[in-house]
Symmetry: C2
Subunit: 303 residues, 2 copies
């Protein structure tokens, strides 16, 4: 079970990195293989591309960790699992483009097994992807969600609406009353229907990420922008930092489980601004992001 998932995840990391390099056309990923220090085993393969033609920073990580005591952040909704020994592996990525008209994107696919002597192991999958535009284009958002829906549909009509809603709820900054972006898919604790079907769903999600993201990158990467758009991008990246450090379960799990800090925090943008009490001009493209795009809604209803 574990071996099959590991092979898939490492291949997915390869496939995504190759596609991102091709889309960038200038820079390639550097790789850090790391072993975990201290208690627990595991390690990972961290890949980072910086200062590309298209991507300011792209981090695509594979990691596999185990431990004697599943951290609270991994079991928020299932406290009965706390204290079990665990194995976790996943691919996690965040792509920060240069051009403010190209959205930031994030994807994660993960597999957990929690074990306890004398009891059956409990396994589950989790993952998803979400899109964070700085300037909103309905066309992009609809395409993103269509690709997500197409990945889900073979597994049942209820799958896309359920994980789309979960994504909106998960990537929400309560202290800002804003979504992180325009959402996508989020699922966790998935073990219904047996291992084979769950694993197939994970692969459908993992494989569809690049198909969902790259067309948007290619459509927007040559849009001319100026200082105002760059400033807004840097400002909005602050929200990304706020989400990841205050709320994100993956980040907190990584830091709590003694993961490799530099691999976990490669999700943070390379350059960020905070401006006290800033708000966009009424009627501006920046205001439209808040008014139209940072609110959960049924994007495919617009079709």
């Amino acid at each position: 079970m574990i071996d099959a998932v590991r092979v898939y995840l490492k291949t997915l990391q390869d496939t995504i990195c190759t596609a991102i390099e091709k889309a960038d056309g200038q820079q390639t990923f550097m790789q850090d293989d790391w072993q975990r220090d201290g208690s627990g085993g595991g390690g990972g393969r961290t890949r980072v591309l910086t200062d590309g033609a298209v991507f300011e920073q792209a981090g695509v990580n594979f990691s596999e960790v185990s431990g004697d005591d599943l951290p609270a952040s991994a079991t928020a909704s299932r406290p009965e699992l706390a204290g079990r020994s665990f194995k976790a592996m996943g691919v996690s990525l965040v792509i920060h483009p240069h051009n403010p008209y190209v959205p930031t994107s994030h994807a994660n696919v993960r597999f957990f097994i929690a074990e306890k002597e004398g009891e059956e192991p409990i396994w589950w999958f989790g993952g998803g992807y979400d899109l964070t535009p700085y300037y909103g284009f309905k066309e992009d958002v609809i395409e993103w969600h269509q690709t997500a829906k197409s990945a889900c549909d073979p597994f049942g009509d209820e799958v896309y609406p359920r994980y789309k809603k979960w994504c909106d709820e998960y990537f929400f900054l309560k202290h800002r009353n804003e979504t992180r972006g325009v959402g996508g898919l989020f699922f966790d604790d998935l073990n219904e229907g047996g291992f084979e079907q769950c694993f197939e769903f994970l692969q459908a999600v993992g494989d569809s990420y690049i198909k969902a993201y790259l067309p948007i990158v290619n459509r927007r990467k040559d849009t001319v922008f100026g200082e105002q758009q760059r400033d807004f991008q840097l400002y909005r990246r602050g929200r990304y930092v706020e989400f990841n450090l205050v709320y994100d379960r993956g980040t907190l799990f990584g830091l709590q489980s003694g993961g490799r800090t530099e691999s976990i925090l490669m999700s943070l943008p390379p350059l960020v601004k905070w401006s006290y009490n800033w708000s966009p001009e009424v009627g501006s493209a920046e205001a439209e992001l808040y008014e139209t795009f940072l609110k959960p809604q049924d994007w495919l209803e617009l079709l």
Copy 2:
């Protein structure tokens, strides 16, 4: 009791803002008076100075909030208080200078009352200040701690060592195995010795902050610096963000208690960099910060 503390805190805010403006010599603070929306009462007086000659951003806030249910972050060490109604007021400030040779500093003084029908109200003070240099100078750090010690000494010989140690423990980034800076004072849950004496101690701490910080500002503000020093400052500011959003009890209390987000997050630096797996060159001034200054130690023993 509350009225006397409120008068002191507002006067302290005035005094500090005047001193910061004078040291800056160019910009003045703008003020936002705000009332709290939603459940609970209260409001505050947020003051922010931006783009000064010396200070890139300085936020000095007074706030007073109340609520029906004391958040967990305020009662980490005293779970028996959770669920009590509360009043909290305080002054909180963070100063981000332009020049990388001038340290960032933070101070906070606060007063809490937790009430429950049919029981005596429980009150306590908390506060302290800490210094976060980008380039370390022993002279500055010793002076900072001497001023802190002088404020504590009238209240007993054990006070400075105790709160100095607490500060080192509190302002610690576990995931980096680094202190946030060179420390100072931190205390919480203070109600030993009666209200009068505790309040006097709070005032001694509050009043000594400007005496501790401004001499360092004035000594370093005209030091010539280049792109390398600026880059290092922006990079190290990332640690400040990491601490405040992952660990800081005041920030989490503010966000959890429905405080005003813009006032709480004025602590975040105006411009920040993250660089994957960056580390300073061996033997450099940047390396010295890590090796010498970001480790808890008895600075006054160096005298």
